[in-house]
Symmetry: C2
DNA sequence: AGATTATGGTTCTATTATAGAAACATGTGA
DNA sequence: TCACATGTTTCTATAATAGAACCATAATCT
C-alpha cells in the first residue's frame, strides 16, 4: 500500500528535532533499533538531496538548507503576513499578550503565525511547532469542532500529559470539548506548559469545517480575572471575525486529512 | 549505494515549486515519465507524514505543513536573527538597498536572511531561494573562493543563462572569478535578473573556507557610479567584518558538501 | 443519453532493490 | 598495544517495489 522504504526514511527524519538536532549513524540506529547500515543509506541519500548535511569533522548529520526552501514555499502559500498578521498584531497590542494562529494538520495543531506581545515577559513559541489536538487552548478549540469520529480517533490513539493539568481522561476531555463547542471559545491554564494560560477561538473554511484557531497566550500570573475574561474574549473574537472574513473572501483552502 | 526508492521520492518532491505548487497523480507521472502507480504511492506516503497534503476537492497534492516545522528548525539553528540581521539592517539603511546573506550549499547559493531596503522600489527575493553558483554577485563571490576542482565541477556540469548577461563561457567565468578573488568583492549587473545590480563579499569559516556571502542588491537604475562604488564596498565590507567576527566567535559551522 | 476519455485508486507478480549480518578502515582512550 | 568505539562497504537471501492491467467515477464530447 505505502512505500516502506520512504516510510522508514521519513520516520528517521522525525528524530531530528530541537532536542536532538544532530545524530551519528550508529547512535541513531541504536535509538531506533534498526541496523546501522540502513540508517547510513537513508542519511546519505537525504544528504545527497540537501535535506541533511554531515559535519565533516564530527561525521554527525543534521538538517540541511533544503528545508529552508520548502518551508518558505509553504509560508508563501499561506501568505498570512500581509493581511492576517496585522490583525493579529492589533489583538496582541490591545491585550498586551502574544497571539498565535494555529493550523489543523491531521491530529496536531501547527503554529503558522505569531504576533508577539511587547511585554518583556511573554509566552513564546516558534513557527512550525506541532502539538497534539487534545492539549491547550489553541488545539482544543479546534478539536471541539471536529466530528465525533475524529475526536474518537484522537482519544483512542492514547494521550500523554505535558503537565499535571493536561486532561488525558477521554470522558473528561469530551465533556470539556462539548462545553467549548457550545460557548465558542476555550480557556485553559497550565495544560500545555506549567505557567501559561491560553484563550482560543476557532476559524472555519467555506464548508464550516474548522481549519485553524486564533489564540491569546501569556504567563499565568497575568491571566484575566473572571470579570475581565469576557472583554478578552471580545477582542479575540473581533480579530477572529476579521480573519474569518479574509478566509471566506479567498475561499481559504488548506486541507486537513 | 544509495536508496533508489528514497532517491526517486525526493526527486518527486522537487517538482513542487513556486511555478508548479500543485500536482495531480497522472499529471506528475506524465511530466516525470514514470508510471502513475509509483507516483501515487510516493505522494500518499509523503501525505501520511504531513509533507504533502491532498486537496479533497481537486484531488491534487501540494506541500504540507510538515515543511514549516523543519524549515523553522533550520532557521533556529542558523540563529541569524539575533546578531547578524541587525548588522544587515544597518548596512541596508546606510546604502538604502536590500541586503542578503547567502549560504553555500553544494553547487548552489541559498538565501538565508534578508534585510530589505526601505525604498518602495527594491530588489526582493524570499528566504530559501536557490541559485547556481555561477550566477550573480552573491553566488560568484562564493564560487571565486572555491578550490579549482570545485569550480571545474560547476563549469563542467553545464550552465544555463538566466538573462542575456549571464556568463556561461567557462573561460570567461574563470577569468572573472580570478579577478573577484583578487579584489575581494564582486559587482554584477543583470546576471541574475534583467534590471538588477548586485555587490557581494565573501564570508569564511574558521578554516578559511568560504561558506557564505553578504550582498547588496537593487534596481539597476540606482546602481552606484564608478566613483561611488568604493564607498558602497566599504560599507559592505564593514558589515561583513562584523558578521565574520560573529562567525569566528561561535566557530560557525554549517558544512558544505 | 450514451460513448469517450480523463482522473485517482487498486491489484497482481516478476523483478529488483533492500535488509541485515559481517567485515573493513579509522580513530580514540585505556 | 589492545579494545572498542565510530563511519563505510560488501554480500546475498528475502522482501519490497515497479509497472502493467484493471476498477470506479467524473467530466466531456458526440
Amino acid at each position: 500500500m505505502t512505500l516502506k522504504t520512504l516510510d522508514n526514511s521519513l520516520e528517521v527524519l522525525k528524530y531530528f528535532n530541537k532536542e536532538n538536532p544532530t545524530w551519528g549513524v550508529r547512535e541513531l540506529a541504536k535509538e531506533m533499533n534498526i541496523s546501522h547500515s540502513i540508517i547510513y543509506r537513508i542519511l546519505t541519500t537525504f544528504e545527497q538531496h540537501g535535506f541533511l548535511i554531515q559535519n565533516p569533522e564530527t561525521k554527525k548529520y543534521e538538517l540541511g538548507l533544503r528545508f529552508l526552501e520548502y518551508g518558505q514555499m509553504v509560508r508563501d502559500k499561506l501568505n498570512l503576513s500581509d493581511f492576517v498578521l496585522p490583525i493579529m498584531k492589533n489583538v496582541a497590542d490591545t491585550v498586551k499578550e502574544s497571539v498565535f494562529l494555529t493550523w489543523l494538520d491531521g491530529t496536531d495543531g501547527v503554529t503558522v503565525e505569531i504576533a508577539e506581545s511587547s511585554q518583556t515577559i511573554k509566552f513564546s513559541v516558534s513557527i512550525g511547532t506541532r502539538t497534539p489536538l487534545y492539549i491547550g487552548a489553541s488545539c482544543k478549540t479546534m478539536m471541539a469542532f471536529l466530528p465525533a469520529e475524529r475526536k474518537k480517533e484522537i482519544t483512542d490513539h492514547g494521550m500523554k500529559k505535558l503537565t499535571p493539568d493536561t486532561i488525558t481522561d477521554p470522558d473528561a476531555l469530551l465533556a470539556d470539548l462539548e462545553k467549548i463547542q457550545q460557548q465558542g471559545w476555550c480557556f485553559t491554564t497550565g495544560e500545555y506548559a506549567h505557567s501559561v494560560f491560553g484563550l482560543g477561538v476557532p476559524l472555519f473554511n467555506n464548508k464550516r469545517e474548522v481549519i485553524a484557531s486564533l489564540t491569546i497566550a501569556g504567563p499565568i500570573y497575568r491571566k484575566p480575572t473572571e470579570d475581565r475574561l469576557p472583554e478578552m474574549i471580545n477582542v479575540l473574537q473581533y480579530g477572529a471575525m476579521n480573519i474569518q472574513r479574509y478566509f471566506d473572501q479567498y475561499s481559504f483552502k488548506l486541507y486537513h486529512e
